[in-house]
């Protein structure tokens, strides 16, 4: 596959990896001139339409996830029988290899990596996308050691396949939750379980449950308790042990409710605060999480309502003992910092920033909410950003089929998120601006060209939207192009619709098929040609001369058809030799009988004899080839398997050194 160019855009450079379902290639995108990873679905799946549909749907859904710890999906496509996903190219290794190379990872670093994975999952879960196959093999570590989660949604697609396959001995089963092992309902908390296992492996360098067979591993996930991580690596703090074991609880309800909740505990562990008695009942943890969840779920529309609620709560909080409140503040600031480092989750905390940032001595500046610039002119957007003293990156221009030039197409962070302005800025606003539609020219010389080629060229090379209209034409042959609308030679914008008129050939009249029964070949030919019909297949096939009379025809006499329709003819002594074992065996075919081929005693043969065997079946005399082999004399008698059709006579015919030797009746009836 290397060297192939998919849809004239993705040039496959080298095979980068291979999984159970797909091969991954490093590829160059010719349009955007960048490296991408192209995941090509393996052959065995491409005939399963239901699977393909699901595969594409899940890939598109995952494509909507934009997060620094998620491998971005750029494109989903197919060319002929090649189905592929184009993804961000990550120059790095999998977390599995990272663990293999480094052994157990220091717990602080393991916690960081887990937080990144969880922040990616938090984003996905908010979009109702469950990964279902979190494992170190699916997490890529960039050269800067940034974890990126790949293959969102793909595990779900595979579950519809009926293709028989060997169970994977090293993969997912080590990381699947008990409910997945049972084939039960999976949700966000199944991902939490898998993160727990992944964290376990990072901390200890080993998976919690291992056994000889995948089934035994699955059973352990269902039934056994894992050894505590610090049993293997002594300096793992108890807080980390607790987090791993809680994430890996057999019952979903005992696990963390959400990725955010687990992040909060990891943050606390990193601060050296042990979890007192299982964080479920920890008033601090539940309190914070409750707030975050409110915010996360409430969304933009209820923002004001939430603010009022928060104000009330603030009043309540001040009633609590001072020490507790102080802990709360420190934790919050810490969470904030972590949030900024991992990116993407920080917005969940921004309400707390607003409430509490004033209480911390350092910055007096208030964060500013980013408004939506989408649909605004870039000048207007920049003016607003300057006015608010918000930092921004140089706008990126991209061609866009429908958005006018200089209008903002998308932005980061999205509207409603608050960021720090001026000198304390951390995040900069990124704007992507339309460069207007890209223009292309419809080539002049496409009349008479093959319709499909033109359609593919317009769609894939010029990126237009071809639309097919069929017309009769006396001038242009069937299946070829008559003209386009806009006309050939016009300049049009990329993405616009072009009508291609495909010729149906000359308009054909309806004719009635004549009755050919009892006709000779010549009579039939004459009748058909005079009606402007053609002669189709003649049965039985492969006979020289057709002397008999016609007993049947297809289409039947009296049928109305278009001129030039082919009419198949069936001659009198029709025979139906049964096919051997080729193709799909039908009922009662492919029963075989063994027969030995003997060297005739009276024959004059050398040391080596060339044996050819044929057989006939039914009443035909047609000899069907069975085998040809050169045998030494000592190899006789030689066994062959003769296909027989129960109820039909089968005869074996043996030739040696090109001379007929003997026939033998193999089978007469059942």
């Amino acid at each position: 596959m290397t060297g192939k160019v998919l849809n004239n855009r993705y040039e496959l450079v080298e095979l980068a990896g291979s999984g159970g379902m797909a091969d991954v290639y490093k590829a160059r995108c010719r349009v955007l001139k960048r490296w991408v990873a192209v995941k090509i679905l393996k052959d065995e799946f491409v005939n399963d339409e239901e699977f393909l549909e699901r595969f594409e749907r899940e890939a598109y859904a995952a494509g909507s996830l934009n997060h620094p710890n998620i491998v971005s999906i750029y494109d989903v496509g197919r060319e002929d029988n090649i189905h592929y996903i184009v993804m961000e190219y990550v120059d790095g290794i999998t977390l599995k290899d990272y663990i293999r190379r480094n052994g157990a990872i220091p717990w602080e670093e393991a916690a960081e990596i887990a937080i990144s994975i969880l922040s990616a999952l938090h984003k996905a879960h908010r979009h109702n996308i469950v990964h279902r196959d979190i494992k170190p093999q699916n997490i890529l570590m960039t050269s800067d050691n940034v974890p990126k989660v790949a293959d969102f949604g793909i595990a779900r697609a595979t579950s519809t396949s009926t293709i028989t396959m060997k169970v994977d001995t090293v993969g997912s089963v080590h990381y699947s939750s008990p409910e997945q092992a049972r084939g039960g309902y999976t949700d966000a908390q199944s991902d939490i379980y898998s993160v727990g296992v992944t964290l376990y492996e990072m901390l200890t360098g080993r998976v919690p449950f291992d056994a000889d067979t995948p089934v035994s591993v699955a059973l352990k996930h269902i039934e056994e308790e894992a050894p505590i991580p610090s049993d293997y690596v002594a300096d793992i703090p108890k807080a980390m042990d607790d987090i791993v074991l809680r994430a890996m609880k057999k019952a979903k309800t005992e696990r963390y409710d959400s990725a955010l909740q687990m992040i909060a505990d990891l943050d606390r562990a990193k601060m050296g605060k042990e979890m007192s008695n299982g964080s479920v009942n920890d008033p601090f943890a539940t309190k914070v999480i409750g707030d975050l969840e409110d915010e996360t779920l409430a969304g933009k529309s209820s923002r004001n309502k939430n603010k009022r609620k928060n104000d009330k709560r603030k009043a309540k909080k001040s009633d609590k003992p001072k020490s507790k409140k102080k802990g709360f503040l420190i934790a919050t600031v810490y969470i904030l910092l972590i949030g900024v480092i991992v990116g993407g989750i920080w917005f969940a905390y921004d309400k707390i920033v607003k409430d509490l940032i004033g209480a911390i001595s350092a910055p007096k500046t208030e964060p500013v909410e980013v408004i939506s610039y989408i649909g605004k002119h870039i000048d207007e957007a920049i003016e607003d950003l300057k006015e608010k003293n918000l930092p921004y990156l140089e706008p990126v221009y991209e061609y866009h089929d429908t958005v006018e030039k200089d209008i903002v197409i998308s932005q980061k962070p999205t509207a409603g998120i608050s960021i720090m302005p001026g000198s304390v800025a951390i995040t900069k606003v990124e704007l992507i601006v339309s460069n207007g539609p890209q223009m292309v020219t419809i080539p002049e010389d496409m009349k008479f060209a093959d319709y499909l080629e033109v359609e593919l060229y317009l769609r894939d090379d010029l990126r237009l939207k071809p639309k097919e209209v069929a017309e009769y034409s006396d001038e242009v042959a069937e299946g070829r192009v008559i003209r386009t609308q806009p006309a050939m030679g016009s300049d049009v914008s990329v993405g616009s619709e072009v009508i291609i008129y495909r010729s149906l050939g000359p308009k054909l009249m309806d004719v009635v098929v004549p009755d050919l029964s009892n006709d000779t070949m010549d009579e039939a030919k004459h009748k058909l040609l005079s009606e402007n019909l053609s002669i189709g297949k003649i049965f039985p096939e492969d006979r020289e001369g057709y002397k008999g009379r016609i007993i049947d025809q297809e289409p039947k006499a009296g049928t109305t058809v278009k001129e030039l329709t082919a009419v198949n003819l069936y001659f009198g002594d029709e025979q139906s030799p049964t096919g051997g074992d080729g193709g799909v065996p039908g009922i009662n075919q492919s029963v075989r009988v063994t027969r030995s081929i003997y060297l005739p005693v009276q024959g004059n043969f050398g040391n080596k004899v060339e044996v050819e065997a044929y057989y006939t079946t039914g009443d035909t005399t047609e000899e069907i080839f069975l085998t040809r082999i050169e045998l030494e004399r000592t190899k006789f008698p030689y066994d062959v398997l003769v296909p027989v059709t129960p109820g039909a006579k089968t005869t074996l015919i043996v030739y040696m050194d090109g001379q007929f030797q003997y026939t033998e009746e193999v089978f007469s009836e059942r």
Binding site: E44, S159, T162, K166, R182, V593, S596
Partner: protein
């Protein structure tokens, strides 16, 4: 002895990766039955199952041609299957860049009033006797083993995401472990060899009630395939039925 076989690609797949064969002796009496459900990709999915059926058929036939055949039926079977395993494994090594292929195998060999069953994977052998149906073979599949352990029930297994994953396959690895079963042949016994395309769609009770109808085996098998296809037909369906 009445017998019939059917193989249908179902209504979704483009290719039939199941193969079967019935070997008859000199008197036209059935001697051996084989069904195989192949795995290994678009180009290669049918190679292992086809090779398995051919190699095992040849192995069995050439044994019975030998004079003074003293080996037990099980030993004959074992030799033929091990040869097939080796043939398929070597073929993949040489021709498929080490991309493994494999196949399920459920086969029966009649000898001296006993039927010996050799079994690998998730195709099945059912014994129908006295209006009872018994699945003799254990499914070597992820879900099959969990069912045997009592973790899943039969219906849960049919919708499990890993329902298509087998834990043993002929030709997939250098060596293969074969399960053997043996039954005494009684008159009026019915034997059913079939691939999972049938058993994913029909319950064993349904198989039983269809097989004991007063109808010829051909039409019964045709009805079974039609029903499996009516219920989705996502997989290839193959079955051999034998009535003593």
């Amino acid at each position: 002895m009445e017998y019939a076989a059917i193989s249908d690609k179902g209504i979704i797949r483009e290719q039939n990766e199941d193969f079967w064969n019935i070997i008859l002796d000199e008197n036209g009496q059935p001697q051996a039955f084989i069904v195989a459900d192949g795995m290994g990709g678009h180009q290669a999915g049918d190679i292992a199952s086809k090779m398995a059926v051919e190699l095992i058929s040849n192995g069995i036939c050439s044994y019975f041609k030998k004079e003074n055949a003293k080996d037990t039926t099980e030993q004959v079977f074992k030799d033929a299957i091990n040869q097939a395993n080796d043939g398929i494994f070597q073929y993949a090594l040489k021709n498929l860049d080490g991309n493994n292929i494999g196949t399920t195998l459920t086969a029966g060999l009649l000898n001296k009033g006993r039927l010996t069953i050799a079994h690998i994977g998730d195709s099945r052998f059912y014994l129908i006797r006295n209006a009872n149906i018994e699945k003799l073979t254990k499914d070597h599949s992820f879900v099959g083993e969990l069912v045997d352990k009592g973790i899943l029930d039969v219906e849960e297994a049919k919708v499990h995401p890993r329902r298509n994953q087998i834990t043993r396959a002929l030709g997939y690895e250098k060596e293969v472990q074969i399960d053997f079963y043996s039954v005494d042949v009684y008159s009026d016994d019915i034997y059913l060899f079939c691939t999972d395309g049938l058993t994913m769609k029909l319950t064993s009770d349904e198989l039983l009630s269809m097989l004991i109808q007063d109808k010829d085996l051909d039409s019964i098998l045709r009805d079974m395939v039609a029903l499996a296809n009516e219920r989705g037909g996502e997989d290839n369906i193959t079955a051999i039925a034998v009535k003593v």
